[in-house]
């Protein structure tokens, strides 16, 4: 049993729903108790979808448990197939149905429905949403392409030259409830078109089962969201010899690397992208003097592996932040995040425990948090500015405006949305100089309307320090020390307090006066 206040991922059947709902012509029979239809809301409210998810739930109740729930499953399957006439059927269970073991997949296969039936075996008590999505996507394509195997026409990515046509690629992974997938596809499609590359199939978002049959006609698979598409891409590589592009084009550098990788694999000449400032405003914005104050801002990053790794590189190399924490809830991609964290001299935080993330965040005392919807809770508690970079998301992160994260425009969007929560430069200077203002008080961010609670972050940090070591209680801040600490601008105060206490502890100083604070400051500046 595991105590969870917030969960980063839903159960695996929600992942399967994401595949079914992202696609067309696919229907999902879900053996589930009454109430599990809440998941429809994720699509109709958060994604603001204008139609019901193609999911039929058996919605059994307690009184059904005494009767024949298997019969209920069969009835639901027959009705749904008759009503919706799908090209392909997914059949699976939710967590409660898994306990009563009606084997709905086997029941469906025995019904001679005349369409492909994909049985989903998603262990709800050990796996989660992204795993469920990846597994569903993989099993679906495997079932549909079974008849093509063994595939004889394994081809090189440069085959397009022989066939005298444009190169074409598959974009794999984008789905509903993924972070900004809708606009990422558009941005990447435009980017590829500018290189003369066509898109063969985008899946699962917007694809039909019949489109999936055309996957082997692509010259390359671009794995845009490994959380959803990596197992499928690997399978297509093994069985159809299709090469995989693994660079995720989030940020300027990564987009350039992505272009190089795609062009090299396809045998295209790599275009000169030295004038990237024309492609994205982000590099110039970041170089302009207004951004100087961003240098060395301490940032804590947590999200799915793809977005966390990308964010860390953008933050450090393209915005000049200092990455002080990096982690993910995607256990499947933990290795990648660990090696990315090593580059920053950090140890990656691999956990799906919201409380551990909050604790790590408090200990790192960042000035900005880049995280998920969940990190907004912790950041509020600690009084730290926060921007969302990854799912889980809420309705405000499915905006009406064009807001990709990938490609050139994505980098511009990133610049705006990450810098926005920070205090603007002039205000930061003035609050550091004059602290007696009646309106612009400590911790106030006037460009955000309404102030963040000033001292909240500080207090919580103190509490956490107390928990983490007993010696903190032996430390005493004198009134002169406290006064000097209060003069430190609020967004770095947490870090200064920590450093000073660490310094005092190292030297066996038990009373922290203003002098100790300045000694510590000089020590850490060295």
């Amino acid at each position: 049993m595991e105590l969870t206040l917030w969960t980063y991922e839903g159960p695996p059947h929600v992942g399967a729903m994401r595949i079914a709902t992202s696609m067309e012509g696919l229907h999902y029979i879900l053996h589930a108790p009454q109430g599990d239809t809440y998941a429809d809301l994720l699509f109709t409210m958060i994604e603001r979808s204008d139609r019901r998810p193609p999911v039929t739930y058996t919605t059994f109740q307690a009184r059904d448990l005494g009767g024949d729930t298997a019969d209920l499953v069969k009835r639901s399957i027959a009705e749904a197939v008759n009503r919706f006439q799908p090209e392909t059927l997914l059949v699976g269970e939710s967590c409660t149905a898994e306990l009563i073991q009606d084997q709905p997949g086997a029941l469906a296969s025995g019904m001679n429905l005349g369409i492909p039936v994909v049985t989903l075996d998603l262990p709800a008590y050990s796996k989660k949403e992204n795993w469920g999505a990846a597994e569903t996507f993989y099993q679906l394509v495997r079932t549909l392409l079974k008849s093509e195997l063994p595939y004889s026409k394994k081809q090189k990515p440069s085959q397009w030259r022989v066939e005298k046509r444009r190169p074409r690629v598959n974009l794999l992974g984008p789905s509903l409830l993924g972070f900004r997938c809708r606009d990422d596809i558009r941005e990447i499609t435009i980017l590829l078109a500018s290189l003369g590359i066509e898109v063969n199939v985008v899946a699962p978002l917007g694809a039909k089962p019949s489109d999936l049959m055309r996957l082997p006609l692509g010259d390359l698979n671009i794995c845009l969201y490994p959380e959803v598409a990596a197992p499928l891409c690997n399978w297509l590589e093994r069985n159809f010899g299709m090469h995989i592009v693994r660079t995720i084009p989030i940020g300027i550098g990564a987009t350039q690397a992505f272009i190089e990788e795609v062009c090299t694999l396809l045998g295209l000449s790599i275009p000169l992208v030295n004038n990237i400032q024309q492609s994205s405003r982000m590099p110039w914005y970041s170089q302009s003097v207004d951004s100087t104050y961003l240098t060395g801002k301490r940032v804590f990053i947590f999200g799915d592996a793809t977005h966390a790794i990308a964010a860390a590189r953008v933050a450090s190399k393209e915005l000049g932040f200092q990455v002080v924490g990096l982690g993910t809830y995607s256990r499947e991609l933990a290795r990648e995040v660990r090696s990315a964290a090593e580059e920053f001299g950090l140890e990656a935080l691999i956990t799906d425990n919201y409380l551990l993330v909050e604790q790590a965040m408090a200990e790192a005392a960042p000035e900005l948090v880049l995280g998920t919807q969940m990190e907004r809770h912790s950041a509020k508690r600690l009084g730290i500015p926060c921007a969302v970079i990854s799912a889980p998301l809420h309705v405000q992160d499915v905006p009406a405006r064009y807001s990709p994260q990938m490609g050139w425009e994505g980098a511009s969007v990133i610049f705006d949305s990450w810098v926005h929560p920070l205090m603007m430069g002039l205000e930061e200077h003035l609050i550091g100089m004059f602290r007696h203002d009646f309106e612009f008080v400590d911790g106030h961010l006037s460009h955000l309307e309404g102030a963040t609670a000033p001292d909240q972050g500080l207090k919580t940090t103190v509490q956490t320090t107390k928990n983490s070591s007993n010696s903190a209680e032996e430390l005493m801040w004198t009134s002169s020390g406290e006064l000097e600490l209060s003069r430190i601008p609020f967004f770095v105060r947490g870090k200064v307090r920590k450093n000073t206490e660490a310094f005092a502890r190292e030297r066996g100083i038990s009373e922290i006066s203003d002098e100790v604070l300045y000694e510590a400051k000089a020590h850490y500046n060295r």
Binding site: M1, T4, G35, D36, Y38, C95, L99, H377, R381, Q456
Partner: protein, 425 residues
């Protein structure tokens, strides 16, 4: 049961038009009640014992609010718990220990049962007893089921309140007990009005502070503010309280009658009742008039959701002049709903249960002016050109009382006005 909720004088309708349906149900489970109960009792914590699905449900419903201190959580069952490798009771004790050490200010802890915990028959009642002994006095541990297999949406509140009944102190003093969550402002307003009748001893269940429980006994008369509290009402009756029979305080008529029945039960003289209520009724009717104009003659279709459907249909039909196409309810407690049913027009089509596909076919073919439905259906129906009012809002808004009648009507005119307001040419 000692007292029947239905007084003999009330005309018990024969209900020839109740359609019973079985099939896919598009409703919430009882766990969803946590979304408003945690605000009503901020010193309580709701710990669901269930799966990741349960955790996901609550955070999807409430996650748009940002919490510095969450007031609900889930003890997620793992494979070890299911295989019996880990002793589920020891595990639960450990989780509760962790939680309470993190949140020492919690006074009442609700262990909320879910589908998985019910199916594997984890005895949360026993667990609550055991934990009560352990935390002797500092935290009260209660247990109820919010599982989808047993409860639908607002029934979760019924179960939660029911779990509090054994803790109520006993007192035979004369008092009025309002049962069911009301908005703070509405609750205060009602109390003030009852004071004007001379009924000064008024309590509420649930209270605002979870430890501040109202007493119960022979002198208690209970007045249900919500129509979904069958189990709680019966438990209170078994403790000696008497149920005041009334329609529910929605609309001017409903609210006036609700207060009148309470006054009658306390023997307040008719003249005094009139004096307090008639200005409210007049004012309420005047405020309602412009909305009545907009709603008059419009056809409304209710999909099952919260059990508020029948009182709402009564209000919209009798006070706003709407025509009822179909009134769907997740389940129908005929006794508790009898006074309401008696006021619905003859031949009203009531459907109990749901087959969502069939019901949607009826929605499409009757093409009503307004459909009251859940959020899973609202946007898809709007996209088909059918105006909707999403029903969950009715549980979150101050809608009770004569003074709120116009606000309640406004909730139904808003989507209609919006549709006529928006222009794209």
């Amino acid at each position: 049961m000692t007292v029947s909720p239905v007084q003999s004088g009330i005309n018990f309708p024969s209900l020839p038009n109740v359609r019973k349906e079985n099939g896919q149900r598009e409703v919430f489970c009882g766990l969803t009640s946590i979304v408003w109960l945690h605000r009503r009792m901020p010193d309580a914590f709701f710990l669901v014992v269930g799966s990741r699905t349960c955790a996901h449900l609550i955070q999807s419903a409430a996650g748009v609010m940002i919490f510095a201190e969450p007031r609900f959580g889930t003890a997620i069952l793992g494979e070890r718990d299911l295989a019996g490798i880990a002793d589920a009771n020891e595990e639960l004790d450990r989780v509760v220990g962790d939680l309470l050490s993190r949140r020492p200010e919690i006074r009442t802890l609700f262990l909320v049962g879910s589908c998985p915990s019910e199916v594997i028959k984890l005895d949360l009642g026993k667990a609550a007893e055991r934990l009560n002994t352990r935390y002797n006095g500092s935290v009260r541990v209660l247990n109820y089921s919010g599982s989808g297999i047993e409860t639908t949406f607002t029934e979760g509140e019924d179960q939660a309140l029911h779990s509090m009944v054994p803790l109520l102190p006993s007192s035979d003093e004369d008092q009025l007990l309002i049962v069911g969550t009301l908005a703070d402002g509405v609750e205060e307003r009602f109390k003030k009005l009852f004071h004007r009748f001379g009924i000064s001893n008024v309590h509420s269940l649930p209270p605002r502070i979870s430890t501040d429980l109202p007493p119960i006994g022979k002198g208690t008369r209970i007045l249900l503010a919500q129509p979904f509290l069958s189990v709680t009402a019966r438990a209170l009756i078994s403790k000696g309280a008497k149920l005041i029979n009334s329609i529910y305080p929605l609309g001017v008529e409903g609210s006036a009658q609700w207060m009148m029945e309470a006054a009658k039960a306390f023997g307040v003289n008719t003249h005094q009742v009139e004096q307090v209520i008639s200005p409210l009724v007049n004012r309420g009717r005047i405020a309602l008039a412009p909305f009545r104009q907009q709603l008059q003659g419009k056809r409304i279709f209710f999909l099952p959701d919260s059990q508020l459907e029948i009182p709402l249909a009564r209000f919209l039909c009798r006070e706003c002049g709407m025509n009822l196409v179909e009134v769907g309810v997740p389940y129908l407690d005929r006794q508790i709903m009898a006074p309401e049913l008696a006021l619905l027009p003859e031949n009203t089509v009531i459907s109990e249960g749901q087959h969502v596909e069939y019901q949607l076919e009826r929605v499409r073919s009757s093409f009503p002016d307004l459909v009251v439905c859940g959020m899973g259906l609202a946007n898809p129906l709007e996209a088909e050109g059918i105006t909707t009012k999403w029903s969950i809002e009715l549980v979150f808004s101050p809608i009770h009382g004569c003074d709120q009648a116009a606000d309640l009507a406004e909730l139904f005119t808003r989507p209609l006005s919006r549709r006529s307001l928006l222009r794209w040419e």
